[in-house]
């Protein structure tokens, strides 16, 4: 299984902080695997994707296997 981690408002939209989905996943199958409200947000350029703690420069190049962790990172705000 692949672990999805929803950060910030994506966790609200997914109504969960995490989810497990069957691998492998690419960008299109990720869009299909997440709740519709999350998929709509992923359409925005400002959501970043990290695989096993490494942020993807080109998120469309996503490939993940069972055992990987994919984090969905909406716009940040700290300080």
């Amino acid at each position: 299984m692949i672990r999805l981690v929803y950060l910030g408002k994506l966790a609200d939209l997914a109504m969960n902080d995490t989810a497990e989905v069957a691998g492998p996943l690419d960008w299109n199958s990720l869009l299909a695997a997440v709740p519709e409200a999350v998929a709509a947000q992923l359409g925005e350029e400002r959501v970043h994707i990290a695989v096993n703690g490494a942020v993807l420069t080109d998120r469309c190049s996503l490939t993940a296997q069972d055992g990987d962790e994919i984090a969905l990172l909406p716009p940040v705000s700290g300080g």
Binding site: V5, A50, P74, G79
Partner: protein, 157 residues
């Protein structure tokens, strides 16, 4: 008071409890006692009457390593003796400290600029997500346009 021990030349922390600004800055000043200039910034939840609570979420594999890289970038960019970058995570209520940044340097300008640089990047370029509770409702905060403008200053040169 018992002396807090800081990592030299950078002390970067994510804290899930309150922080004592007095203790932290006393320790920072002692750690860099030969530095001529120490600038600091403390950001607190603003008690403007409306904010009931604030929550900061982080993502373990990215947030702290990103802050450590940011601290190193400040050290590479300015002539510093050392830096401190502390950020709260979790739920907090006003008036509680959220962020404490300090820079020690031989000269004032470098210390000031480093703190400014670190704050601009923590605010809108670190892996942190902030939401606010007002009137019983939680709402996610996104950086404002002027936060992005502030960040762009550092990319121009």
């Amino acid at each position: 008071m018992a002396r807090l021990s800081l990592d030299n030349p950078r002390d970067v922390r994510l804290l899930d409890k309150g922080l004592s600004v007095g203790e932290a800055l006393a320790a920072f000043s002692a750690t860099y006692e030969r530095a001529g200039a120490i600038a600091s910034f403390l950001g607190k939840t603003r008690d403007d009457g409306g904010t009931q609570a604030l929550e900061l979420t982080h993502y373990e594999p990215l947030t702290l390593p990103g802050m450590e890289r940011l601290a190193d970038e400040a050290r590479a960019r300015f002539a510093l003796d050392g830096v401190l970058v502390w950020h709260r995570v979790g739920v907090m209520t006003p008036p509680q400290p959220i962020v404490l940044v300090a820079a020690a340097a031989p000269h004032r300008r470098a210390a000031f600029d480093a703190v400014d640089f670190l704050m601009d990047h923590l605010k809108s370029a670190s892996w942190l997500w902030k939401r606010e509770k007002r009137g019983g409702e939680w709402r996610w905060i996104e950086p404002r346009a002027d936060d992005h403008d502030a960040l762009a200053r550092w990319k121009a040169d």
